[in-house]
Symmetry: C2
Subunit: 254 residues, 2 copies
Amino acid sequence: MFKNRNSQNIHCNHCAVKTLCVARDLNPIETDDINNQITKIKVADKGNHIFHAKDLQQNLYAVHTGSCKDYWLDEDGSERINNFYLPGDIIGLESIPNDKHLYSLIALENTELCVIPITALFDLMHQHSNILKRVMNIAGYKMQNDQSIRITTNVNQRIADFILNTYYRLQERSNSKDFISLPMSQLEISNYLGMAHETVNRVLRKFHKEKIITIKVKRIYITDIDRLKELGTTLLSIGQGETHVEKIPEEECQ
Amino acid sequence: MFKNRNSQNIHCNHCAVKTLCVARDLNPIETDDINNQITKIKVADKGNHIFHAKDLQQNLYAVHTGSCKDYWLDEDGSERINNFYLPGDIIGLESIPNDKHLYSLIALENTELCVIPITALFDLMHQHSNILKRVMNIAGYKMQNDQSIRITTNVNQRIADFILNTYYRLQERSNSKDFISLPMSQLEISNYLGMAHETVNRVLRKFHKEKIITIKVKRIYITDIDRLKELGTTLLSIGQGETHVEKIPEEECQ
DNA sequence: CGCTGTTTTGAACGAAGTCAAGGTTCGTGG
DNA sequence: CCACGAACCTTGACTTCGTTCAAAACAGCG
C-alpha cells in the first residue's frame, strides 16, 4: 500500500535515519532535490511482500521504519535469505544492472519504505557530485556488509559476528547503547547463516547462560559486548559513523 | 612497479576485457575520456603486494592480465582471503567510503593492473551519464558476486558453487568453452571458503574421480559443467553477458 | 640438489546436523 | 475473552560430516 510522503510529513531533513540514507552530507539544496524526488512511501504489514524476484525494477527502497528480508527460492523451492534490512538501509542496489529484482522482499514487521525512483536518482547523481559521492559510499558500505558475514569455521564465531553486525547497524540508528533487539526469528537467522536452527538456538542459549546476551521473547538483548567481540572475528566494526584513520602512509605503495 | 600505459600500447578500445571493465557501453568520446585518465599500469610479480590494508586509497585498479587476491589479517595474524580478482575485475570499490584500503592486495601470478584515479573517475561519472551508469552496474555486479558465495550447509555444494562462479567469470574473459583453469591454490580456496584444505582436496579428488573436473598441477579443468550445476546452488549464473529478462510484469508490485 | 610450499591420504575426534518430541507464544476466529 | 492451531523455540539422543593431526609424495625455485 502506498502513501503520499508529503502528507505523512516525512522530509529527509527531519528523518531519524538521515545519516545512514542518501541524504547524508548534502547541502540544503541537494537535500531538497533528493527529498522532492521521493514522493511516495510504501507501507507493508508484517509478512507482506514489497516486490518479487524477476519483477521489473524501477525503484530503490529506503527503510524508514521497520525491517525487511530479501530471499530467493532454490531448486527445491525452499527460501534462501539473502539479507536483512534495517532503518536507513537502501534496498535493491545489486539488481540495478539487471533492470529486474534478483530477490523477493518481505517485511519482518510493519514497515515503511521510501520509494526512490532509479532514473531520478541517477539524474541527481549526475547533477550533484555530493549525491554521486554519497550513493557510491552507500554502495561501498553495502559491499562491506555483504563481505562481513564471511564463512568462518565454527558456529559460535559466525553467530557472534551476526549479532555484532546487526548490533552495530542498529546502534547507529538508535541512542540506546545497552540493549538492542533483533527483529528476525531464530529460524531466519539459521537460514541466513546456513546452519540448523537447533544449532542457532543452542548457541544463543549458551551465550545467554554465559551472560553475553539476554534472550527475551523474540528479542535478543546484548549484555556483554566485549565478550562478543572476543568471540567474533574482527574487522567487523564497519559502520557509517566517524572513520578513524589511524595513520596515513606517505605513499599508497612503495 | 609502474609502467606508462601509452608506451605499452594499451587502450580501452582494444582491451581484451573491455566488456567487463569501465569502458563497456560507452561512445567513442567517453571511451577516450576514460582512457586518457588511466595513464599508468602497475605491474606485480607473483606473490608481490600491490597495496596494503590501511594505506591511503587514491585509486581503483582494473585487472588487465593475471589475477589477484585481497585479504586481511585476523587477531591471530592469520590471513583471511576476501576475494579473488580476474581480468576485467575492478578492485577497491568497497573501500571508497573509508578513503583507505580495507584489504591488502597480492598478485597470484604476474599481473598488470590499470590504475584508475578515483577523483578522475568521479569527475567522469559526473560528466557522462553513461559512465555513471556503467560504474553503478559494476558495483551491482560486485555485490552479486559477493553474495553468490553464500554459506551453504555442505562442503560439496560450496566448492561446486565456487568452481562455477569462477568458471562463469573466467568464461566471460576467454573463448575457450571447454577447459578453464583456476589461478589460485587449494590452500587459498580453502581459506576463502572457510574450510580445511584437506577437505577441499578430498572434494576436488572426488569430483575428479567422478569425472566432473580434471585436476592438473595447480590447475583445475572443468569437464562436466552440468553435473557441477546440479551439485551447486542455482542463481549463480550471474554474469555481465546478455541479460535475459524472462518476462516483464505489468506493474512492479500489485 | 635441497629447501619450501602444496597436494595427498589415513585415522581419530569433535562439532554440527538430523530426528524426535515437548513447551511457548501469537494470532485468529468463535 | 477464551480456545485452538500454527509458528516458533527448546532440549535430548544419535549420526554424520568435516576438522585435526600426522606423515608422505610431489612440484617449484633458488
